[in-house]
Symmetry: C2
Subunit: 327 residues, 2 copies
């Protein structure tokens, strides 16, 4: 049985952040409420000796003929030897026979895309439709992608970028300002930038809160996508007292890996029954933003259902182009 | 970064059931007691629509430079369309950088070998050293491999084989009798065969007990390797009342996937503190068999540490032969 192997370059040619890829992830997330999706808990393994960790995510979506097993290693000493911290691959299996059908050697690229797509979906369903000033916290790959994602779903006219490294923030502002034809400014002071923003996306691996409660103002939406592990935290738990609506991508995940973890520890998380999942907002089963003055926060930890969906999407597009080799 | 892809044929040429592969698995299991091995819980996903399931196992072993993520799909309607039920692959990562180093497209072959090796290790450390009559329950791939494994570690002179399908049992007896130069008989009646055996290996996917308590006799050792999921059960829970020693490969796994699960449900499992793990027996931290009259049972559910070890072993041997392609 031939297995198609697709390289990172081939996958980059096949899939970018587009309305189609965003729609693919929106449907996949919605499927969590509409269909009998099976999504087991994330498998995580730490390798403390080498400052590494590895996550394995998967899901079965009944309307898709395949499912992906996504392996994401993160080895945080890699940059010191000239290697990227994040890597990994997706293995695509037939959902009917379990046979391996494709190997997507994407080194984390598809994870970047599906994560940005989830940011677009969260903003589309939770930000005010007139949100036009964005703030991006962080300057990495996701900072760039999340801003591009916002511009696809909201009438963004200007953006600010904050990062620990001012140079990186300035570079991001310059690069994306041209590309997106909006005004982008690198900023020093988060306490001034947060109140100015209609929509804030936090994209850092911070272990201590960056976003403080007193900076929030009515009407804002925040997407917190940086925390995906039980030691990360971008949002001060006190912020939860100001939220009209806290939305989890997956409650069982945000409790242990997302911003909800710290809020639970501080005793000011909403009751479980008051926490909708993003899928329920998309499908209209539960309310997200109900008034223009609401402050909403969406906590994204990244779900196997996104991986299975983007893998199927990428593979189909790459195959149509005849990309890859068969082994 | 080039990734080596090894096919099932190449892996079969590189690794078989030998004293070296058994030693590799023995060391890996022992490492669970001796070193700071990291072995997360198994990730399992069911795909009920297609009578399928998939397990993902992994472990980090400090003395190895790589770790494997092993994906094992089982799709039990496959035989009706001419495909094997079990498939899968192992992905080998650098334990220092998390980069993908090799893809072992083994379709489950290395799982077969490392499982048989664990059977050899269990028998070596728990059966009486003079055990010479074996009984194999089942007629599949593991039935064959487990008998070969026993012959490598015990002075086996004769064996009996029982299976639901008499023809298959007879075929196994004929094939392996010649190969192993021992007397092998296919038998009809387990109730007569069990008392005759010094060592019994159960290798079936049975969902209801095959081995009954009244058939056990002093001095026997049983390896139960068939049950690896929360619906399988080969050993009548009443057998636990007759055991001198119950040994788990991993307590947390046998509680939910092994024979211990049913014994716990029936309330006649040993107390947790009275259950050693196989690693502790190998390293001498805890007692296994202490007298010739003891009845011992080893419950094997299969561990990620075996997968990481056999993957490293297979890859090294295959690379030495220059096998595989680089992608």
């Amino acid at each position: 049985m031939a297995v198609r192997v697709l390289t990172e370059a081939e996958l980059k040619a096949a899939v970018t952040l587009t309305p189609e890829s965003i729609a693919c992830i929106e449907q996949a997330i919605a499927a969590l409420s509409l269909r009998s999706v099976v999504m087991p808990p994330v498998l995580s393994m730490e390798i403390p000796e080498h400052n590494g960790e590895v996550d394995v995510k998967t899901a079965y979506v009944p309307c898709l003929d395949s499912f992906a097993i996504k392996v994401s290693p993160g080895f945080f000493d890699n940059p010191s030897i000239g290697l990227p911290s994040l890597n990994g691959l997706m293995v695509v299996f037939s959902a009917k026979t379990g046979l391996v059908e494709a190997l997507l050697m994407d080194n984390g690229y598809l994870t970047d895309i599906r994560t940005a797509c989830a940011g677009a979906v969260a903003a589309r369903f939770l930000a005010r439709p007139d949100a036009h000033n964005a703030l991006i916290v962080g300057t990495g790959v996701q900072a760039r992608l999340q801003l591009q994602a916002l511009c696809q779903v909201l009438p963004i006219k200007s953006a600010e970028v904050w990062g620990r490294c001012k140079d990186k923030a300035a570079r991001l502002a310059q690069d994306l300002g041209q590309k997106l034809s909006i005004t982008i400014q690198a900023v020093d002071d988060l306490s001034l930038a947060v109140p100015r923003a209609d929509v804030v996306v936090t994209t850092t691996p911070s272990r201590s809160p960056l976003l403080q409660a007193e900076w929030l103002r009515p009407g804002q939406h925040i997407t917190a996508m940086g925390s995906d592990a039980n030691y990360k935290n971008e949002i001060d738990p006190a912020c939860f007292n100001h939220l009209s609506r806290y939305v989890a991508d997956r409650r069982t995940q945000t409790m242990t890996r997302g911003e909800l973890r710290t809020a639970l520890a501080y005793g000011n998380a909403p009751a479980t029954e008051d926490i909708p999942e993003l899928s329920e907002i998309i499908t209209g089963h539960r309310d997200g933003r109900v008034s223009a003055a609401d402050i909403t926060l969406c906590d994204l930890t990244g779900m196997g259902v996104q991986d299975t969906a983007i893998a199927a999407f990428a593979r189909e597009r790459a195959e149509k182009e005849g990309a890859g080799i068969l082994i």
